[in-house]
């Protein structure tokens, strides 16, 4: 590839990123307007109600978080495979999605955490009553009933799932694509030269080589999801030190989960680095 085409490609990429950025802004502005309105309405409602232990219904337990992020990670891996292996590099869909991923994947997960707090919680720490219908007995004495279980059929649930997908998927797409790219081109070409089809090349060469990296990717994304949840709990505890004790337990649980997963993913990356440290197969 000569210098001129590289320059042109870079320019195209920049332009598409700027367009994406503006697009996200245009879509994002009305959403934030709506959110501010509901926020104002909620603060009025919250001042009348007792602050309840309403964080727990949002993220009921570790299982919920893990299963949601698992779905998001699988979705991200599927996306990355489609982008990297099937769409040509010059395809505008691929360029657009890669631009979105580059912007969203670069945002630290703490911002997603703060965003989630802003979207789902009122000032008093109660959950915004978007979809959860609560009986009158709850308002009287919430602690007696214990934490509400997560309600799977409410709009809040879907919004939470969307937030997680928004947070975890770009990160997964970015790193999975890097993992697929790390499979050396000569290995692919040698397999193609034997008469293998695209699927055979993927199944026999690319996936086994990239698998460890992709797993590490998934672990890292899950770790960041847990860390974000831990952050939400952390802010909750910081604001309401006399709140329910189980909150601090959860904070520690999620934080340690995140720490474990991030260490585990580093170990995986180290493992696959030593496994593919072959001087005859330099990665491009």
């Amino acid at each position: 590839m000569n210098v001129m085409t590289t320059c042109a490609l870079r320019k195209q990429k920049l332009v598409s990123q700027i367009i994406t950025f503006i697009f996200i802004g245009i879509v994002g502005a009305p959403i934030s307007g709506v959110l501010q309105k509901t926020y104002a309405a909620d603060t009025e409602a919250a001042s009348a109600a007792t602050p309840l232990n309403t964080l727990s219904p949002l993220l009921d337990d570790l299982y919920t978080v893990l299963s949601i992020s698992f779905v998001a990670i699988l979705f991200g891996i599927a996306c990355a495979f489609y982008l990297q292996e099937w769409l040509p590099q010059t395809n505008w869909v691929r360029r657009f999605i890669e631009s979105v991923v580059a912007i969203l994947g670069g945002v630290p997960s703490i911002f997603y955490g703060i965003l989630a707090i802003g979207i789902f919680f009122t000032d008093a720490g109660t959950l915004k009553t978007v979809g959860i219908v609560r009986g009158p007995q709850d308002i009287g004495d919430g602690s007696a009933l214990g934490p509400l279980s997560f309600q799977y059929d409410t709009p809040v649930f879907y919004i939470v799932v969307l937030t997680f997908i928004l947070m975890v998927t770009p990160m997964t797409i970015k790193t999975t694509q890097a993992a697929l790219r790390s499979v050396a081109t000569p290995i692919r070409e040698a397999t193609y030269a034997l008469g293998a089809s695209h699927w055979q090349v993927l199944r026999r060469q690319v996936i086994p080589i990239a698998l460890t990296r992709i797993l590490a990717t998934g672990c890292r994304a899950m770790s960041s999801a847990l860390a974000t949840v831990a952050l939400i709990f952390g802010i909750y505890i910081w604001q309401y030190t006399n709140g329910p004790r189980e909150m601090s337990n959860r904070f520690i649980l999620f934080l340690s989960g995140a720490l474990f997963l991030s260490i585990f993913s580093s170990v995986l990356i180290k493992l696959c680095a030593s496994a593919s440290a072959d001087p005859t197969h330099p990665t491009r």
Binding site: T5, P186, I187, E189, A190, A193, A196, Q205, T280, H281
Partner: protein, 255 residues
């Protein structure tokens, strides 16, 4: 060897290739005869690799690749053939660097056969043994078939890659500078093997070592800056070249 009266298996007509805006090959036309070794010589960056990769349609994966002209394999234009995988099974390729796959030596050779659809293990055993014998590697790896190819020398790895390519049972086998990384003793082995393989296969050989082409080939083509300067019997190219540049190249004054 007779260059006339042999059917041609591959004919290239007016082939031009661009990478982006840069033209790499200019209007190439030649015929490859069945059962002969056709060598392409030329200095670095003269387009030898591009040409042989084109015959295998490996350039399909290169971005910005563009070509005009035809390559006819057994009279059928391969540019229009939609199934490149079937074509690559008939036209094998050996690269400059040996590229052993993951898995054992046995699995490496069996891989080629498995792609073509052979699955019964008894068949695989005979295929692996037959092809390793062809390359002369059998006696050296007979007892370590289950181990990884990393412990073999580079030359042995290259022989293994040739055995793997042979297991697909191609008609044409392309060598893209197969001795570029090897020492002289291993090079001799590969060259002897190439001469032996002529019995069953048509071979295309790209190299930038002039003497090597003179040793192994029946027909030679001299590529210079993307142009096919001269194409004909090896003896003629090396002893009585028609073009001034060919003479300068084979005598060592150019490139």
């Amino acid at each position: 060897m007779q260059t006339e009266n042999v059917p041609s298996i591959l004919s290239v007509r007016n082939l031009s290739i661009w990478y982006g805006d840069k033209q790499v090959l200019r209007d190439l036309s030649f015929e490859v005869k069945q059962g002969q070794v056709t060598a392409f010589i030329g200095p670095t960056n003269s387009g030898k690799s591009t040409l042989v990769r084109c015959i295998n349609r490996l350039n399909d994966f290169t971005p910005n690749f563009r070509s005009t002209g035809d390559i006819l394999f057994r009279g059928v234009a391969m540019g229009t053939a939609s199934d490149a995988t079937a074509l690559r099974k008939q036209i094998g390729m050996v690269f400059r660097k040996p590229i052993p796959f993951r898995g054992s030596i046995y699995e490496n050779v069996a891989y080629g056969a498995q792609i073509s659809g052979v699955n019964a293990s008894t068949h695989l055993d005979t295929i692996v043994e037959k092809n390793l014998r062809k390359t002369g590697l059998w006696s050296e790896v007979e007892n370590i078939l289950g181990e990884t190819p990393e412990q073999l020398s580079i030359g042995q790895q290259q022989l293994l890659c040739i055995a793997r390519a042979l297991a697909v049972e191609p008609e044409i086998l392309i060598f893209d500078e197969p001795c570029g990384e090897l020492d002289p003793i291993e090079t001799v082995k590969i060259e002897t093997l190439v001469r032996e393989l002529t019995k069953d296969y048509t071979l295309i050989f790209a190299t930038n070592k002039r003497r090597q082409a003179a040793r192994v080939s029946d027909v030679a083509g001299f590529l210079y800056c993307g142009e096919l300067i001269e194409f004909g019997a090896t003896e003629k190219i090396f002893t009585n070249p028609q073009d001034n540049r060919t003479e300068q190249y084979v005598t060592g004054r150019l490139g």
